[in-house]
């Protein structure tokens, strides 16, 4: 009797492990931080791009929604999303876009904006990239949509796509 229990449990264990492997095969995905939503961003302290002041969380609380977009002049995919950002800035009055210039030179950044347009309501600079860590950024372009209470609604890894645009439009217009 005892022997049968042992045999049964061994076979069940093996079946369980193989089952998990089967499911795992279909699941294997590349890791991203998309699921870190619902968190409140604290300790926001960004140097303003041109003015001699610091942008803090208090400034962002004034907006209904803020899209924080990390970009740089040397980043090729950033060009791809620029048109979408301009559209968002134009159409959505509830949304303010904060651009954070990441590890870039001032002149290059200004030229980039001159050539492609400036979709940003405000611009900050993260010269060494250190502040991006506070936002959970690991590559650019990356954008975070937050609400009035500084809670992360969604993270966008890579350039903002058409789907992302529609999503943002939907959220922002709900108010």
């Amino acid at each position: 009797m005892q022997k049968n229990i042992i045999k049964l449990s061994i076979i069940s264990l093996i079946l369980f492990i193989i089952g998990v492997f089967f499911i795992g095969l279909n699941k294997s995905s590349i890791y991203d931080t998309k699921d870190l939503v619902g968190q409140k961003i604290t300790n926001i302290q960004l140097d303003h791009f041109s003015e001699n002041r610091i942008i803090t969380g208090e400034d962002l609380k004034k907006n209904d929604f803020t899209l924080i977009n990390f970009w740089a002049s040397w980043c090729a995919p950033c060009r791809d999303e620029h048109a979408t950002l301009l559209k968002l800035n134009n159409d959505e009055k509830n949304l303010k876009i904060l651009g954070v210039n990441f590890k870039d030179k001032k002149n290059n950044a200004l030229k980039f904006l001159k050539d492609l347009g400036d979709p940003y309501d405000d611009i900050a600079r993260d010269e060494f990239g250190k502040y991006s860590i506070n936002f959970g950024i690991y590559g650019i372009p990356e954008s975070i949509l937050i609400n009035k209470d500084l809670i992360i609604i969604k993270k966008f890894i890579g350039p903002i796509s058409k789907n992302d645009y529609n999503f943002i439009k939907q959220i922002v217009r709900k108010q």
Partner: protein, 121 residues
């Protein structure tokens, strides 16, 4: 015999006293962090943009006086559990940490009982 044991213990103690106490070692932390944009490398071993940024931030936090644990907690909060190579000891992970030792104790017990049975023959 007693003298031997005493000498033994003294030397052992001297060794233990010399054992280094750990300060916050930036290299150790870098090696414990996963480079999220690399394929299986630690921040310490990688030179990607991301790794360089993380190194800066960690060094700053060490200067501010943060402990190793606080630094990991900060990064886990921003990037998820996956960024740390040492799985944190929580409800989910204690199976991972405990099971090997359970196996060890079980194995030892099995052998002990096995031999005890035979010795009694």
């Amino acid at each position: 015999m007693k003298i031997k044991i005493i000498i033994f213990l003294i030397i052992l103690n001297l060794n233990v006293v010399n054992a280094e106490t750990s300060l916050v070692d930036s290299n150790k932390i870098f090696k414990n962090l996963r480079c999220l944009v690399c394929q299986g490398q630690s921040v310490g071993d990688s030179n990607s943009e991301f790794a360089q940024t993380i190194k800066l931030v960690v060094r700053d936090q060490i200067k501010e006086g943060k402990t190793e644990k606080e630094i990991y907690e900060f990064l886990i909060e921003k990037y998820g559990d996956w960024i740390v190579y040492k799985p944190p000891l929580n409800k989910v992970n204690f199976v991972l940490w405990l099971f090997p030792y359970l196996v060890f104790v079980a194995g030892g017990t099995i052998i002990f009982l096995f031999l005890k049975k035979r010795d009694n023959h």
